[in-house]
């Protein structure tokens, strides 16, 4: 066992900050035991009794902070040093938290002169002005805010282009820049696949699937959904593709969007044709004539796009993806048959309750192949509009993250209460045959999803058991094991309650649809 210590001399650190430091060093990978204390005689005796003995600790004075660590065998002390220094640094900054925060971009730049990105999440009416100020200061912008007018968006993006800056958004929920997940993003591995996405949930899904399949993300650039409309003209989507094309760490470029405007698709194709790197696209659209003569590999689902990118990144034959998905389809058919057999004659309808908007679209696209009479509050393809968004009607695929549900409330990825109520309503409906759900993990999302969803699953089971029915629940979990919520733990928790957890939304939607189809036969 290796014992190392760090001494921070003569610097006043309050007790709360010391506790914080202690907590953080204990969490460092490779540390088996740790302590953070001031170097008083008592503390030093305590350290000695716990086996922490180093020359530095012996010499430390009462005014010195001691951090002592026991490392697992084989862990390089050198790799820990930088982490501990960083912890010291942030602890000291927090110590000064009650000193005044900068109140404007200009004064923030005095504190952090070489800042390169402004993350803006204030109310939409103020966001455009702040974004422009940031661009004027030479900062790239991630504009999380929505309700920024399209005129402002166009003005911002034109100005940004002229300054060679990115404007990600408005309404850009997620991005991964230089390995740093921003806003609502997952902790994914770094790698050689670069993503440009006009869809936040889409970006989260492909980046997680890529990471879970053993590859990683070089950069993931969000553009906001409106970027690919005719009006905005795909300015940032195109800039994103160009940036990834010239980025040496990116080997495969993955494009994610709801169907872009035809003009934008043409621009994408013309830019893509000049790029040597493999390019994969998922535009959630069957009409792909425009892409026919391009070198872009088309995928019909987010999952397929992620797997194709992975294959290309690993220099494998993309045809393996087709085989894999085919094999999975037969497996899904088998599960579907078993589940369908447990349904009562009255149970007919799919009820999909989504928190992710792109998932809602993707599910509609997948289910439209076999299910007629599909309804949604955000109809996509041949779906019909729900008469009343708050009530299911026939096969229903609803986006609970749509504005009509979120006025004055947190997004359903954070706060499950709206969906939990809807789960019960649909469970009480004897015609409901399948419940399809999504859970999105990562920063910004609900930090304890199981605590919030398990009780409602149990309540739902009580209702259906009472009515002598069985209701299958299918759920996709978008996330990784490095996310603060840990995907495996969440999936296991759901499975323990009889929820069928699928690896992707595409798989979950396919299964849900297959159960209904199997029942109908």
């Amino acid at each position: 066992m290796n014992i190392i210590s760090f001494i921070k001399r003569g610097e006043y650190i309050d007790s709360i900050s010391i506790m914080l430091i202690a907590k953080r060093v204990a969490e460092i990978e490779g540390v088996t035991d740790s302590a953070a204390v001031m170097g008083t005689a008592e503390n030093k005796a305590m350290l000695k009794a716990s086996g922490f003995v180093t020359p530095e600790i012996l010499q430390a004075g009462e005014m010195d902070l001691i951090v002592a660590l026991k490392l697992r065998d084989g862990v390089e002390p050198g790799s820990i040093t930088a982490t501990v220094r960083a912890i010291f640094k942030t602890a000291k900054e927090q110590d000064g938290e009650d000193t005044l925060l900068p109140q404007s971009i200009e004064s923030a730049l005095k504190t952090l002169p070489d800042a390169n990105l402004a993350m803006i999440s204030v109310a939409g009416r103020y966001a455009g002005d702040l974004a422009m100020k940031s661009l004027e200061q030479g900062l790239h912008v991630m504009l999380f805010s929505d309700n920024v007018s399209i005129e402002e968006e166009i003005e911002l993006k034109k100005f940004a282009s002229s300054r060679h800056l990115f404007v990600m958004g408005p309404d850009c929920g997620t991005a991964i820049i230089n390995g740093v997940p921003l806003a609502f993003a997952n902790v994914v591995d770094r790698g050689n696949i670069g993503v440009v996405a006009a869809s936040g949930t889409g970006l989260q899904e492909v980046s997680c699937l890529i990471s879970n399949a053993g590859c990683g993300i070089s950069q993931a650039i969000g553009t906001g959904g409106r970027d690919v409309t005719k009006e905005v003209g795909g300015v940032m989507f195109i800039e994103g593709i160009r940036a990834l094309a010239s980025d040496p760490s990116t080997h495969v470029v993955l494009l994610v969007s709801k169907p872009p405007a035809a003009e934008v698709v043409k621009k994408i194709v013309s830019v893509a044709n000049g790029i040597q790197k493999p390019i994969v696209s998922v535009f959630l659209d069957a009409s792909t004539a425009l892409l026919k003569d391009s070198n872009i590999v088309q995928a019909s689902t987010l999952e397929e796009a992620a797997l194709l990118s992975v294959a290309l990144a690993k220099n494998e034959d993309p045809a393996t993806v087709g085989k894999l998905l085919k094999k999975r389809r037969s497996e899904i058919a088998r599960i579907a048959k078993t589940e369908a057999a447990k349904l009562s004659p009255k149970q007919k309808y799919l009820r999909a309750l989504y928190s992710g908007g792109t998932f809602c679209d993707e599910a509609q696209l997948i289910c439209q192949a076999d299910l007629r009479d599909l309804h949604s509050n955000t109809p996509f393809g041949s779906s019909k509009k729900l008469r009343d968004s708050s009530r299911s009607q026939g096969h229903t695929i609803v986006d609970l993250g749509d504005d009509e549900f979120t006025v004055g409330k947190p997004h359903p990825m954070i706060d499950y209460s709206t969906r939990n109520k809807r789960i019960i309503t649909d469970a009480e409906d004897p015609e409901t045959a399948v419940l399809l759900l999504d859970i999105v993990l990562g920063y910004g999302a609900n930090m304890s999803p199981l605590d919030d969803i398990i009780p409602v699953i149990q309540q739902m089971r009580t209702i259906t058991a009472h009515q002598k029915r069985y209701l299958p629940v299918i759920c996709s979990v978008t996330g990784t094991d490095r996310d603060p919520q840990n995907r495996s733990a969440v999936a296991a928790g759901l499975q323990a309650k009889g929820v069928v957890v699928m690896e992707s939304n595409a798989a979950a939607s396919t299964l849900a649809q297959a159960i209904i189809s199997a029942k109908e036969r």
Partner: protein
């Protein structure tokens, strides 16, 4: 574009604080901005201002150059009637923006009554009130006569005033001698002892100081203020160091120019016992510097913030003599025993001219000694000063704050920043009783009210538009 991929990501976060916390967890360098929505959301006005940014910036630079290069000195003394421009026998000057007798607050009415009796224009209170209401007496803001006055700020024709001169730009400013604390005219007291003191100041203090100043030559106020800031004054609510420095300058000359030892001692003792003796001079020095920066076209710099106890008024360099006003707020104060907020008069006096020039509340980080007196901690004081850098265009080149590594005080309030950032100027001040004659009942701090700044901003933007069309 892809340059950011090659650099370390460093983030400025504006909005949801949790995004910054997430970045902290990942050891990403990030700064959170404590952002507030602007006072006015007027995209047209903002667009006009943005499209004229270069002109405004140039104008403000010019204004700041004048404020910072100003060099106020005392050159002598004189009677208000003889030296103050536009002073008349039937004119009383008052603090703040224009106000008539009907709208005057208690302390100001009291001071008017006292001044009329001091001038011999009224024999008693009743008569004084009658004359004041009759229209025979004219009222005008000190600020419009190159003068400033603390609290009620009444200057009457016979009052002796210091004559201040701006060595750099040649303009002059005038201010009365400070009467001390307790029952005094500026707080609206008008009893016999008040009039008696004013008479003594006219007959004894004034000639004595006149001679002493003549003997000394000019007295460099900028130098005294700069030193006082390093000795714990912010020269609005604390003037102890500055008064001491002035005393050291004057004392030998007072003795040398006096035949009467007892009288010389009384004069020196009067100054010695009044820690606020320098206040009127720090105000005059501020006024002198700000007046130099008036009437610069396209400048959004505030050249006056003044309160008459009813309204709070603001003037900008680029909008001439127009006052922008709104109701004056009651300061958030610590009250002397026996008094409460109920007793407090709304904020009053020209003394906020110190803040306008980058002193007073703007320099409170220099003055830990008074922080508790105005109700706060040392850290609060530092934060007040730091915050004011957000709304000012320059850091003072001579007035420096030791604790902030001798950083210059935040100077030159820019109305565009006040409105855009929703940060109002911070003032630390004395509080007057709302009834005439009771005097000071506490001290505290306040943010200037938003309304005058919003009005000033709108007019400023309007003028830019019309000028552009011409």
């Amino acid at each position: 574009m892809s340059q950011i991929f090659q650099s370390e990501l460093k983030v400025i976060n504006i909005g949801l604080r949790s995004f910054k916390e997430t970045l902290d967890k990942q050891n990403v360098r990030a700064v959170h901005v404590d952002w507030r929505p602007p006072l006015i959301v007027d995209n047209t006005a903002m667009a006009v201002i943005r499209s004229n940014a270069v002109r405004i910036e140039a104008a403000n630079r010019k204004a700041l150059e004048k404020i910072l290069n100003s060099k106020p000195v005392i050159t002598g003394m004189g009677k208000a009637l003889e030296v103050i421009p536009g002073m008349k026998k039937n004119l009383l000057l008052h603090a703040g923006p224009p106000v008539n007798w009907q709208s005057m607050c208690g302390p100001m009415r009291g001071a008017v009554i006292g001044a009329l009796m001091y001038e011999g224009l009224a024999g008693d209170v009743e008569q004084a009130e009658q004359i004041a209401a009759s229209g025979a007496i004219e009222f005008s803001p000190c600020h419009e006569h190159a003068a400033v006055g603390p609290m009620a700020g009444i200057v009457s024709p016979s009052m002796p005033v210091f004559i201040l001169e701006n060595v750099t730009y040649g303009n002059r400013a005038y201010c009365t001698m400070n009467e001390g604390l307790g029952k005094v005219l500026r707080y609206g007291a008008y009893g016999p002892e008040v009039i008696e003191r004013l008479k003594w100041m006219e007959s004894t203090l004034y000639p004595s100081l006149c001679r002493a100043i003549e003997k000394v030559g000019t007295i460099d106020l900028k130098n005294i203020i700069a030193q006082a800031l390093q000795m714990g004054d912010e020269v609005h609510n604390r003037n102890r160091a500055a008064t001491s420095l002035l005393y050291r300058t004057l004392a030998p000359a007072v003795l040398q120019t006096s035949d009467d030892k007892e009288m010389a001692a009384a004069v020196l003792e009067f100054i010695n016992r009044n820690d606020h003796f320098f206040l009127n001079l720090s105000m005059g020095a501020s006024k002198l510097s700000l007046d130099a920066a008036r009437n610069i076209r396209d400048s959004s710099i505030v050249v006056a913030m003044a309160r008459n106890g009813t309204e709070f008024g603001v003037q900008l360099s680029g909008t001439g003599s127009e006052w922008f006003t709104g109701p004056s707020p009651v300061p958030d104060a610590l009250y002397f025993t026996g008094f409460t907020r109920e007793d407090a008069n709304p904020d009053i006096g020209d003394s906020s001219v110190t803040e306008t020039a980058g002193l007073g509340g703007f320099a409170i980080a220099s003055s830990p000694a008074i922080v508790q007196f105005v109700g706060g901690s040392t850290k609060d004081a530092i934060n007040y000063t730091l915050k004011m850098y957000e709304i000012t265009d320059a850091e003072n080149t001579v007035y420096k704050i030791p604790y902030l590594n001798f950083r210059g005080t935040p100077t030159g309030i820019d109305v565009i920043k006040v409105v855009g950032k929703n940060i109002l100027p911070f003032i630390d001040t004395g509080v007057a009783h709302k009834n005439a004659g009771i005097g000071q009942i506490g001290a505290g701090v306040l943010s200037a009210p938003a309304e005058p700044f919003m009005k000033a901003f709108i007019t400023f933007a309007d003028r830019l538009t019309t000028q552009k069309e011409h």
